[in-house]
Subunit: 121 residues, 2 copies
DNA sequence: CGAACTGTTGAACAACTGCTCATATGTTCA
DNA sequence: TGAACATATGAGCAGTTGTTCAACAGTTCG
């Protein structure tokens, strides 16, 4: 064996700190999933959809009208939100109603709002 | 005047719902800023940086070593995080130490983790 | 069944993102 | 001052993302 762990080409200035933090870091898989989740909140169209659904269950047409966008684009975004299990569909005849599928959406928004509103004063 | 509000080409299935939700929707500016904020959490490199900084103040070299990435890419990401005021730099000689600049980062992560961990069982 | 309507899907494309590489800035110390 | 080091930055490029357009699928009702 050569060296214990090949870190990177650069000098590690504080080896102990790096090791200590490394111990506590969650699995990369978890952090990847976390990033995937927040990616859903990282687009204003999806943010507006999620915000709207906090108020009321809505169909694709309603959301498209509310946001002034095409039904197709809304449907595409709803699919992404469905796959991340942030929203869930409920079919009633021709219409598909969407609603939030996660109690934490509200909490995530609340925390984000605190940051945004502080910075906007 | 032609029609009250030109919504979109599609039929509005539930006009009252749409109007009610529209009343409560925050300004587009706020929702845009919110999306910009969450965009920072929507990349695994940045997520790992923010997670690491929850544990300890670190310099660019340390973070690069921890994550096994180039100092340049870390520096680029730190700039983005700085601009969103999620991290702040502290210069000490040649070294620049970064730390969290927002008490809400922890809360946002906590909410996100709840979602991710539930879905991973 | 077939027309009308709601929603979904795939391809195409322009815009954006994150990394690398080369270079520049800022600090220390001999 | 100049060499060495830590970090920052800009250009370039491949990969990703969000929208549009056209076509398709599921439901209702005459």
């Amino acid at each position: 064996m050569t060296e214990p762990v090949a870190l990177c080409e650069c000098c590690v200035v504080h080896e102990e700190t790096v090791e200590a933090v490394r111990q506590v870091m969650p699995d990369d898989g978890v952090l990847f999933d976390l990033a995937e989740l927040f990616k859903m909140f990282g687009d204003s169209t999806r943010v507006r959809i999620l915000f709207a659904l906090q108020q009321s269950e809505m169909c694709v047409c309603d959301i498209a009208a509310l946001l002034g966008m095409s039904k197709s684009s809304i449907s595409h975004q709803l699919r992404a939100l469905r796959q991340t299990r942030l929203v869930k569909p409920r079919r009633d005849g021709k219409t598909v109603y969407y609603s939030l599928d996660d109690e934490h959406v509200v909490g995530i928004f609340a925390q984000g709002m605190l940051h945004v509103c502080e910075r906007r004063e």
